[in-house]
């Protein structure tokens, strides 16, 4: 599980760095200036190493580590909601997936992880400054895997990119939208779904969920499920026994899944 090109380093406090193993001095924010290849080439997964003032542990370059060490610009879809989409849409090897609204690429990393070498992933994002971050995160995670799906990125809004999208695939098993406004995107993409394919939306506020629902029905889709997934962490009490930890409530957004029958 040790990539030859990238290393994941984790501090005691969980802070995670994803470092390219180039043979030259580089500056990594938080770690300082060092030569990754020379410093890390002989460090195995699970071993500790000192870099600058810090002791870090080399970790496997698996999806959870790569997610934690992501370059971030915007808030991103986390593993809770990503896993829900993967399971509810039934994503897996060979699927053809369209994703509009890339953010920092958090969901995209989860999608690519399960598409195998035969799957196809089309991403669309109008804001170039987001796409750059997301594409860097996808580049890293692809480098750390043997198998990577076909990936095409389109700069623009999904509404204006339908013809380009069609050029890459005859139809999609899944469409995932994470946008400020879903209705026009739903209208534009519903017909790209294959029969039996599903469209999913990620809606930060409850009124968006309502608008997405209405737009799906107007586009001839059947809403299978709408709602939210609440992640609640539990911990051990100091005197024994388990209780919910006093951490933040794990809501992130309202989710919707609609089916093209």
């Amino acid at each position: 599980m040790t990539s030859e090109e990238w290393a994941v380093l984790v501090e005691e406090n969980g802070k995670t760095y994803v470092v390219e193993l180039v043979d030259q001095q580089v500056k990594i924010k938080g770690l300082g200036v060092f030569n990754p290849h020379q410093t890390l080439a002989t460090v195995a997964t699970g071993e500790r190493v000192e870099i600058g003032q810090k002791e870090v542990k080399r970790a496997a370059a698996r999806l959870p580590e790569l997610s934690r060490g992501m370059v971030r610009r915007a808030q991103t879809i986390g593993s809770k909601d990503a896993g829900f989409f993967v399971a509810k849409l039934g994503l897996g090897s060979g699927d053809c997936v369209l994703e509009a609204g890339l953010g920092s690429g958090g969901l995209a990393m989860h999608i690519q992880r399960v598409l195998g070498t035969t799957g196809t992933h089309i991403t669309v994002e109008p804001r170039n400054e987001h796409a750059e971050v997301a594409l860097e995160n996808l580049r890293r995670s692809s480098s750390c895997r043997d198998e990577t799906p076909n990936h095409h990125h389109i700069e623009g809004t999904v509404e204006a990119s339908v013809e380009q999208i069609k050029a890459f695939a005859d139809g999609f098993h899944a469409v995932v939208l994470d946008l400020p406004e879903h209705p026009t995107a739903i209208e534009a993409t519903a017909d790209l779904l294959l029969p039996g394919g599903r469209l999913a939306c990620y809606c930060p506020v409850s009124s968006q969920l309502e608008h997405a629902w209405e737009a799906c029905e107007a586009a001839g889709l059947t809403v299978e499920w709408a709602g939210e997934l609440m992640e609640r962490e539990w911990g051990r009490a100091s005197k024994g026994g388990m209780r919910p930890v006093n951490g933040p409530f794990g809501h992130t957004a309202f989710l919707l899944v609609a089916l093209r029958t």
Copy 2:
């Protein structure tokens, strides 16, 4: 997305049948006696067909449909928790996964869906009457996909099967346990994990979560996350607006993820 060997049929009320397309009279409980090949060979995904007294719609044979139409014996791990495990363990193409406590195979179907052709899935189950159901569900879902991972099934307890398991793989990226008692299974399997690999437990009651936690620490694993995922469905109110639906609370079990560092 139309399998040549299996068809998925859905009633108006959502009841789902997974039917093998054999060319002979068969009796399907709920649909009656008919010849699936003759009745369904020319029915496309999305088309309706009358069988006996009922009108059903042919659906795509994707994971959500196959899950809904599963042969069931025991309560099974659903898509909410399956998706969470897939995402938190970072499962994907090429991974080597050990699963003990197969139940009806609900989680196994989700795992196999994302392992691609290069992944390996070892399942262990001591109760033969459960394994039979689970293996039938896996046979169906494999038939409906082009790509299937290597799968080996072992009859027995995981504690007694360690040598057999080792014969199939040099180490595992993930171990998933859904058992009445986790501690002995954790002790037996923790060392099968590769460095950076993760072990997950599915615990119906909160005291099991505590015991699993303790056993993971005793086995040298680091608990990354323990808790629960609450699925809450929302619906549209009759006068407009959105509200949580009055359905059952979507708790199923307490989940734990531990890392071999």
Copy 3:
């Protein structure tokens, strides 16, 4: 705790009857025809008695029993949300409370329970068919208590009843609104609050919560808290240990509390 005028009878399955102890034959739906005074006068709290075909147990005529045995017409505010309002508004002896939108009187019963003999409760309801049910429920619960606050009921909308309301009280420590539309009622009643008094809204859908919030701010009130209270019942698993029961999710409505500073 035995009322001389009313008796509470509980079936094995929990079904609860509130029966006036008149000395004549009456027909109680579910129990049949019998003379309550003759049948029940000598039955103490906790004793069983046979009525018609059924065996019932006489229970104390406390608020939980009276709530369970309420005459119902509309869905009513339950103990979870009633308790939250009582606590967040700090209701107690001597308070002056205005309640608009009586429903079946479920919240009103909780409010009157805590106001003592010196408190004042003004209720407003435009739909006479609801008020009749609610007033019957309040009559019963008053009869079962030694202490009852001053209560005045006004038929009409709260917007049209402001002058009448002012005739009963110089100002209110609390205003509680359970209405299809809150903004005009908030506008009409905000000035009835004493400095330091609080206004609360009960909003079935999330968009109502937003409208109530905006109307409170427009009326010069400060929103102290908005959100929901989720009641989750736990039970014992058959093999030991505790887990959430598979019952309905205890959401009922979104609640808002605003302060007149």
Copy 4:
């Protein structure tokens, strides 16, 4: 709503001070040295006043303000759970309530608020350093109300105080326990309940809930409800619409209510 003896002062950030209106220089942590009577006697509820470097607003001395400005030693039962107990136990004027495990008196303040002048409240606490804090909080809240129930405090464990408790009341409508271990306290107090009375427990971890359940059944009580109340705050998104706020999950403890039939 202005107490003549105490004043509540609130900073812009919500920090709340409860100040006795004595006519002498006092030092209030956070506000500095000043003469409360001279500074505040003419300041009405809702008015601002400068004290030292700070501008504060005088607030009504109602329960929510007194709770926020409590002297604290231990974590205390908050308004969410206090309101639930008040409603599920049906507490109100004239009730006789036993409370063991006073903590800082947070629940006690809510109980006394609703008992009127005819109710009776017996509190039991073995740790004197907690009782002192709680009794100070109760003294304040009593001073700010016209109506106060009969209150007797017993220093000791509830198990050792049964005879003393009986001297104050012939039986209780409610018993509330917030203790490290509930079983022996349940055994000791179940018989103090009047028929139809209820016993409630506050259990930080889930295994305590199970032990309390078992002890209630062993003592001949019927568990009516066990579970938890989750408080989730919602807020307005910057671009409009409502969403759960990213604050802490409002779990505090598992609650249990049992009935003496």
